[in-house]
Amino acid sequence: MTRFAHAVHEELWSHGRRVESRLSYGEAVHETDGSITATDTRDDALVARAEAQLERLRAAMPNDALVRLVAESTLEGDTATMTVREGALSIVTDPEHVQEDLHLMRTAGVPPAARAVCRRPLLWKNGTAAILLHEAHGHPLEHHHEPLPLPDWLHVEAPLIERRQTFRDVPLLRMQHVRVTQTNAPFDLPEEHIEVTMVDGGAYEPLTQTITIRVSASSIGAFTIVEPRANILFLGARGDAQRYPGVICSREGQELVVGSHAPALVTAFR
């Protein structure tokens, strides 16, 4: 019999004004027959830890944007997640990185009206390539599909573990994080290319093995990629893995933060 317990305090702030506050706690006990018994049992220590995380988030949040704070404490540890949205752009960050991530968002380029996406090569900057690999490599693994064929110089670490959003949810095999690295990769950047600087979201359709990536900021503005994952060509990469502040992954209605790191990556589509 195993036990999951957590406390979560979540707040929504709009330009410095608190508009929503949700406290939640409970435990899920995995019974010997495989069933789960979930109750909103309070663990005072977890609630106190979550409140402390919330204080850290409040102290670090910007007061001129729409901000969601999620402080969670589980038996395994604490997390403090801050989602900041300004117009069409958003970041998922924490108290330690919020200032640098805000700078990234505010300098990523205001997206002009979306233009039709062309088939030019893409340079995935700021760690955004982690989203591409999250959808094209990580989600297929969750669905027991074949790993994406990768060139020798590209490595993707996407460990799957059982995770759940709340004590009311059935745990699912989900990505813990996505860490993309390169070793001695080529980097011949074609002159005509699109620089992807921020990504708003993505999806993987297991029936057709098609990925959708919603690029929110790039050198041509916002656009959406919808491609079979087999069409991705990996052309090159450069540098160390950079943390991308922006992945809340939703599957079966359960939203989870997935840490994401990737180097600058050059791709094209067949």
Binding site: R17, R18, V19, E20, S21, R22, L23, S24, Y25, G26, G34, S35, I36, T37, A38, T39, D40, T41, R42, R168, V170, L207, T208, E252
Partner: protein
């Protein structure tokens, strides 16, 4: 005023049985919405979910997802008290790169049987019938759809044909204004049963354009239908858990 809810849900989700008991409260003060658990208030309301009932469902090899739940909840808001029983079914079935979502147990078998016979995509017929499950999903996009009376909303207010009501599916959600029990007035109730029939949605509804699975005589095919007019509405209605509830009826449409 404080809203309180306590309840118990038994949910069977893709092979795992989950029993959830919880109790919580919510308050709106000016623009601030707050909610918190109140576990000391809950009473256990024991009931189970019969696995025997699921056996006919689970024989379908095309099942991608099955969620069945049964629940009971007690609500209070000020001096108002009300309770509700819920029973929900949700399945997704897949065949040949197509997915159909089914939200009523009785709809599963006919849709699954038809999906196995699916042929190539065709143009939509000019006149066709929409099955109640398809109509129910379309209702929020139809100007002709109206709220119908019955039950109470998230503040315990009666739902009438003309009332303004608020939907609160959980104590953790801020109530939102929404029409309840959407339905179409049955005008012309004669439906030509020889016409092709859209029996399921293959994609989420996009306005009045639907990608559907159509049964026509002995053939089954996918087609994109843009509804341009409603020519008949059957009198019999079936409730579906879409939005704050929708009553689907067999309807005759032009496309």
């Amino acid at each position: 005023m404080i809203y309180r809810k306590q309840g118990h849900v038994v949910r069977w989700e893709n092979g795992t049985l989950l029993r959830v008991t919880e109790s919580g409260a919510a308050r709106e003060t000016g623009g601030l919405f707050e909610c918190w658990p109140e576990p000391e208030r809950k009473r256990r309301t024991g009931f189970s979910l019969s696995m025997d009932r699921l056996k006919p469902v689970l024989r379908f090899s095309m099942l991608e997802r099955v969620i069945v739940s049964r629940g009971y909840a007690e609500h209070e808001y000020g001096d108002r008290r009300w309770s509700e029983h819920t029973h929900r079914f949700h399945a997704s079935i897949v065949h040949d790169h197509l997915r159909v979502l089914v939200d009523r147990e009785e709809d599963l078998e006919p849709i699954a049987n038809a999906l196995q016979k699916i042929g190539r995509e065709r143009e939509a017929p000019r006149h066709l019938r929409l099955a109640p499950n398809v109509t129910a999903a379309l209702l929020p996009f139809l100007e002709e759809a109206k709220q119908t009376s019955g039950g109470v909303d998230g503040y315990g207010d009666d739902i009438t044909e003309s009332s303004i009501n608020f939907y609160r599916p959980s104590y953790r959600m801020r109530p939102v204004r929404m029409p309840f029990n959407l339905a179409l007035d049955p005008g012309v109730t004669t439906i030509d049963e020889a016409l092709p029939r859209a029996i399921a949605l293959l994609e989420p509804v996009q306005g009045l354009t639907l990608r559907v699975l159509i049964e026509e005589e002995r053939s089954v095919y996918p087609a994109v239908v843009t509804v341009t007019g409603i020519e008949g509405v059957a009198a019999e209605r079936t409730w579906y858990p879409y939005g704050a509830g929708a009553y689907g009826a067999e309807i005759l449409v032009s496309a």
